[in-house]
């Protein structure tokens, strides 16, 4: 789960990581009044959306007067911001962070992320602050410092010192840095974060470190035990269909094709998309109904699929293991009692309780093109969606 920069900075404050003074604003008036409260020579007006690249896309403005804050707030609120991470459709700006300006002497990059190769959290740092870290890693990997964190002891002081000296922090700031790095790891651990990035972490002329940005991401699997983090969720930033699917414990991702897919298992769901493409079709979505879906969940999955206007045909590809074929079949029959189906439906069932599942479909009024294999099903649905109706 993603959160906004201003929410990330709230967490930083709570863990003693210094951030500039600032407030979130939902309206132009709020933005101006927060700027007045700040009483700072310059104020940053920062668009709050769940995507990086905001600065380059014009989502961050520096205002010298309260009137300029008003002008920028007016310009940004309600505007659709397109960054390299939002996709073409962009994201509507509904919140702004109004923040005091700070003197920047130097910029650094700090990141905590899971290293999948070692199964440990990796602390990363670089002098190339403000730059796209993926580019730095690609072009000049030697400029990134790494420390692997042993979960037994956490990020140790000596590791913190290695990073601080590696970044070339002056003596006073080095001491502050070690504490700051350890506080960040504590935050990462206690909130079940999956990413914490500060880009840039800055040092002022007075040799004080301040987090100028905050990018935090949390492990969805741990949200059930992270009540505070759950409260930060902003559903307006998420795809409505993906959100609805999530309510029924379905894993759904919208794509731009016209063949709706319902599959059990993530690997098979991806492979189903791949084989549709292989035969010249185009998948409208990724949908994994998971292993523990009930008949109702399956019915809801089917409704979500059919609510996509682009869908010209549906391919159900099930290889039952923990998922039982009869549950899938019953769910389809139930969904089609309430939703009209005007497009072809190809169903391939195999695995646990396959005979029961086939029987349910055969005894129903549902019009089904049966497929005897994944290959057969993919060919049938691609053909059915291409032929004139």
């Amino acid at each position: 789960m993603n959160i906004h920069e201003y929410q990330g900075k709230e967490l930083f404050r709570a863990y003693g990581v210094p951030v500039p003074r600032g407030h979130v604003a939902f309206s132009i008036e709020e933005a101006v009044s927060h700027a007045k409260e700040l009483d700072s020579n310059i104020a940053a007006v920062k668009a709050q959306i769940h995507a990086g690249g905001r600065g380059k896309a014009g989502g961050v403005k520096i205002a010298k007067t309260h009137e300029e804050v008003r002008t920028y707030a007016k310009e940004l609120l309600g505007k659709t911001l397109v960054t390299h991470q939002t996709g073409e459709e962009g994201q509507v700006i509904q919140r702004l962070l109004i923040e005091e300006g700070v003197d920047i002497e130097r910029e650094y990059y700090i990141g905590l992320v899971l290293n999948r190769e070692t199964g440990r959290v990796s602390f990363m740092a670089s002098k190339e602050g403000g730059m796209d870290i993926e580019e730095v890693a690609e072009n000049t990997p030697e400029k990134i410092l790494y420390e692997e964190i042993d979960p037994l002891v956490g990020l140790t002081a000596f590791q913190g010192r290695r990073i601080a000296y590696g970044l070339g922090l002056p003596k006073k700031a080095a001491k502050q840095g070690v504490e700051l790095f350890q506080k960040l790891y504590k935050l990462y651990l206690q909130t079940d974060a999956s990413i914490i990035e500060i880009n840039p972490l800055i040092i002022t002329r007075e040799e004080k470190l301040i987090a100028l940005d905050a990018k935090l991401n949390f492990d969805d699997n741990a949200l059930s035990r992270q009540e505070g983090i759950r409260g930060y969720r902003d559903e307006s930033e998420e795809d409505p269909k993906e959100l609805e699917a999530g309510k029924y414990d379905l894993s759904y991702i919208a794509l731009d094709g016209n063949i709706g897919c319902m599959v059990n298992g993530a690997g098979l769901a991806m492979a189903t998309m791949d084989i549709i493409k292989h035969y010249g079709g185009s998948p409208a979505n990724f949908l994994d109904v998971g292993g523990s879906a009930t008949r109702e969940n399956v019915a809801n999955a089917f409704r979500i699929l059919l609510s996509d206007e682009n869908v010209k045909g549906v391919f159900v590809n099930i290889f039952g293991g923990i998922m039982k074929c009869d549950v899938i079949a019953a769910g389809i029959v139930e969904a089609l009692k309430t939703v009209e189906m005007n497009v072809p439906l190809v169903v391939r069932l195999e695995g646990t309780n396959v005979d029961k599942g086939r029987e349910i479909l055969a005894n129903s009024q549902v019009e089904v093109l049966s497929a005897f294999s994944m290959d057969d099903g993919a060919k049938k649905i691609v053909k059915a969606t291409k032929s004139p109706q």
């Binding site: 899971l114 741990a222 794509l255 298992g265 690997g267 991806m270 492979a271 493409k277 290889f319 993919a378």
Partner: protein
Amino acid sequence: MSIYVNRETKLVVQGITGATAKFHTKLMKEYGTNIVAGVTPGKGGETVEGVPVFNTMREAVKKTGANASVIYVPPGLAADGILEAAESKIGLVICITEHIPIGDMINVKRYLEDKETILIGPNCPGVITPDECKIGIMPGYIHRKGHIGVVSRSGTLTYEAVHQLSELGMGQSTAVGIGGDPVNGTSFIDVLKGFNEDPDTHGVIMIGEIGGTQEEEAAEWVKENMKKPVAGFISGVTAPPGKRMGHAGAIISGGKGTAEEKIKVMKAAGIAIADTPSTMGKTMAELMNK
């Protein structure tokens, strides 16, 4: 021969009183798996499908001599189940549970570093040696005894591969699902090593997916060490970057972990890649007949 599980396997089912566990305990028993115990805290003294239930793993292992466990407990409690199994000195733990917090798995992996216990999964379908022992949630009837080893990050794609092999008359030595999580126990390389040393395995199918670099590392290992033919498949060629495709570990991030890259490295290591998921069996058959 086979790897990980066989007729000697004595299984304990952790979380045996849950609905899913009960259902699969029945199916595993019907398949012929020797289930000697179940564990659910607070339910000690009960029986499930004729299997005695204990309160703790230590007690279950001591009283029954179990040498493997399978975990069906809910995600918030599953990591503790793995730790308890390892502490009871059981040799093999297979964790079916999906959605375990990553932070928990980081601790589990660290705890297992100096233990003898092998962890398979989590978020996996389990391990089966056809006609001998089935541990997990895979449908038993699709398997045939034979000489192809199967290893995969995806449960349902494992079934797909096994089904295709069986229909072509090629049985399996052992099929292993290593799971779709970013932090897991047994890796592709671990399983490939096992198959390489198993005289009854004559060829291997390896099924990967987008995200991480396990497939690339395995391909390097195959190139240097593997004495047997390997066929492969990678799912997610059409997956958009930055999106988690169902499995917590299936994500292309920062341009890393793409299907194209994995396929390229695997081909370079001499692995025969199936064009579509429906030709995994055929690709293996062609390789074996060369």
